[in-house]
């Protein structure tokens, strides 16, 4: 871990530790800024909050959102919950996996896309739904999937 990251982590922890129940907000901010929670963050956060490393690690590993490895530039999450299943999310998911050449929890070799399952995006009247980063897309089809991918890849270039 570069020294700057260590400093950033300590700075975040110090800035937020006064909040009651500060651990989640701190971890969320670390992930927001660094893209993931490096394992080196655990002792830094633990010492700032006067917790054990096991307690911090336990929280990091409990929640689906926290990742210990950096993701691709775009994180694609495809909803796997019932409403989207009723509208063909299985077909969409299979297409996405083949199209990207990766499975869930994997990142493409060019580090452009990571693929994750998600259980409900609250867009159930427009199923099947998926999200790229913070943007939600509804009534997805394999064709629209390709269009969205081109669109987001174009934006980032």
């Amino acid at each position: 871990m570069p020294i700057e990251s260590g400093e950033a982590i300590a700075r975040i922890a110090k800035a937020l530790k006064h909040k009651p129940g500060a651990l989640l907000p701190i971890l969320q901010e670390i992930q927001e800024q660094l893209g993931h929670i490096p394992s080196e963050a655990v002792p830094i956060v633990a010492s700032e909050l006067n917790l054990t490393r096991a307690e911090v690690h336990g929280v990091v590993s409990f929640y689906h959102d926290f990742r210990s490895e950096p993701p691709g530039r775009h994180v694609i999450r495809i909803c796997q919950a019932e409403s989207c299943q009723a509208m063909g999310s299985a077909v969409l998911t299979a297409f996405a996996k083949t199209h990207l050449g990766i499975d869930f929890h994997e990142t493409t070799a060019d580090a452009a896309f990571s693929l994750e399952p998600v259980y409900c995006l609250g867009n159930c009247a427009c199923s099947p739904a998926m999200a790229v980063g913070k943007e939600v897309y509804g009534r997805m089809t394999p064709q629209r999937f390709q269009e969205v991918l081109q669109e987001v890849a174009g934006k980032s270039e």
Partner: protein
């Protein structure tokens, strides 16, 4: 100047509302037309999104579903004056889908600018709070009791009793926590409120604070709702500057502070005690009850924890009175519920109605049948822990008691429809799989039973000792029901056993076969 309305609700955005808004602005500039574009929440008529509305002397006229490429032709047709066009739907309030609803809790969603205090006040906002400020804590609680309001998160516990318990527990610090971890598939009413009318939730939480003397509130919002996060924070900031929140609420000398906290992708954190653990910065592991959160909740202090819709229903009760609210509904299910119509349905969206309409009214009259045009074969009500019902039960009235009569539950009011291509055995398997994924791990029947459940269902489907394994599955479900502390392990047998009961063929069981 002409006023146009385009939703900024994430459902509308997911279908391209942002592009439509940009196209409208640029087309207006090109034509030298002046217009005021208001970004609203969604009306909840999602099959018509992105919806564009224009103010005319005879009310708002709607166009939809609009794509960015339709915008030039809409201007050509005189959209700013409500001109006729292939996409014109006429006066929005006259659409049967809306006209037949009883919009009470979601009265303003889709109409007002979500973060405009002026708009909120002009549509009846803060009247409830002003009335509540003239009452004692006990009087506030009595009013909530009299309204018959029950928790809308799923458990349907009487809200007034919860508040009374928290009030009766002495403590220098009490909390109001809003459960905005809307994780059930098929539900989005909390999101619509938070994105489309956040002040009503804030107002409800302030009233709850006044009721029990709590000075701090938290909204625990699921991380999957980034738009709601942005809108809520903006609304809180505005409410604070205007004196609706802070150290001296509307000059009453009473204080109430509010903060939004985000979850981190864990379904179990929608369970109230796991949510409190998570708010305290811990793993979302559920707690034993008693003590109830109302007695010992957040940081061990008396805490009212209510769902978004519950809290958002409170201002109306104080604006119009408990009797007005109670007048809607049936039996012990009083008031309205925002039903959410999702899955394989033609006209998915939000339908707020008094309790008591039937499932088939919702599925066919509102929903228009399946999206695919095939027969609707099964419906799951109340999220991933809710039962699957077959067509034979579609005339069941939607109220808490009638549904428990058919071993189902209303939950948070989400209704997911499946057409006849669904394989119910795989849905039962998915329920167990989901439970295994989201179990907090505290109770063995849920933590391990869910994985064993997947395996047993697989064996049944492969016809390996089917009779014995069916017996085992029922046994396992029995242990999960009686041996789990919370609703995840305790209720996941609902979808499994209801699928088995109503759709035995999907499990390879012939009708003549002995099931027990």
């Amino acid at each position: 100047m002409n006023t146009l309305y385009i939703p900024q609700d994430s459902g509308a955005l997911s279908l391209g509302a942002e592009g439509v808004a940009r196209a409208v602005q640029s087309e207006a500039r090109k034509r030298g037309e002046e217009l005021r574009l208001v970004r609203t929440g969604s009306r909840g008529l999602y099959w018509l999104e992105p919806l564009l509305e224009v103010a005319t002397p005879s009310g708002r006229v709607a166009y939809g579903p609009v794509s960015a490429s339709d915008v030039p032709s809409l201007f050509e047709a005189g959209v700013l004056r409500g001109g006729s066009h292939a996409l014109c739907l006429g006066p929005i309030e006259e659409l049967p889908y809306l006209k037949q609803q009883e919009r009470m809790t979601l009265a303003r969603v889709g109409i007002t600018d979500p973060t405009s205090l002026e708009d909120y006040a002009a549509h009846g906002g803060f009247r409830g709070l002003r009335n509540a400020l003239g009452l004692s804590g006990e009087q506030i609680i009595k009013e909530v009791m009299d309204s018959g309001l029950r928790g809308r998160g799923g458990a349907a516990f009487p809200t007034g009793i919860k508040w009374k318990t928290a009030d009766a527990t002495p403590s220098p610090q009490k909390y109001i926590v809003c459960n905005a971890d809307e994780g059930d598939s098929g539900t989005f009413s909390d999101r619509m409120i938070m994105e489309g009318d956040p002040f009503v939730l804030i107002e409800g939480m302030v009233i709850a604070g006044l009721a029990i003397g709590a000075t701090q509130g938290y909204i625990y919002l699921r991380s999957e709702y980034p738009h709601a996060y942005r809108v809520l924070n903006l609304a809180i900031e505005k409410a604070q500057s205007a004196g609706y929140l802070g150290g001296d609420v509307l000059g009453s000398g009473k204080s109430f502070h509010l903060e939004v906290r985000r979850g981190a992708g864990s379904y179990i954190c929608g369970e109230e005690t796991a949510l409190l653990e998570s708010l305290e910065g811990k793993r979302g592991v559920i707690r034993y009850r008693p003590p109830l959160p109302a007695v010992s909740g957040l940081f061990g202090q008396p805490t009212i924890i209510n769902n978004v819709i519950t809290l958002a229903s409170v201002p109306l009760i104080f604006d119009r009175g408990a009797a007005f609210y109670k007048n809607y509904g049936t039996g012990r299910s009083r008031g309205t519920l925002p039903f959410q119509l999702a899955g394989n349905v033609k006209r998915g969206g939000l339908v707020e109605k008094a309790f008591g309409l039937t499932l088939s009214e919702l599925l066919y009259d509102f929903g228009g049948g399946s999206f695919t045009g095939r027969p609707i074969r099964a419906v799951q009500i109340g999220g991933p822990l809710g039962a699957y019902l077959p067509e034979a039960l579609f005339d069941t009235p939607l109220d808490y008691e009638a549904l428990s009569g058919v071993q189902a539950m209303l939950g948070h009011g989400g209704i997911v429809a499946f057409d006849d291509t669904v394989d119910m055995a795989s849905m039962a398997r998915f329920a167990m799989e989901f439970c295994a994924l989201e179990s907090c791990g505290k109770c063995t029947p849920c933590r391990i039973g869910s994985t064993r459940g997947v395996e047993v269902i697989d064996k049944i489907l492969r016809n390996r000792n089917r009779k014995g394994n069916l017996h085992l599955l029922r046994d396992l479900c029995d242990i999960m029901v009686s041996g789990s502390l919370c609703g995840l392990g305790g209720l996941i047998p609902n979808p499994v056993l209801s699928a088995l009961k109503h759709f035995p063929k999907d499990f390879g069981i012939e009708e003549t076969e002995e099931l027990h």
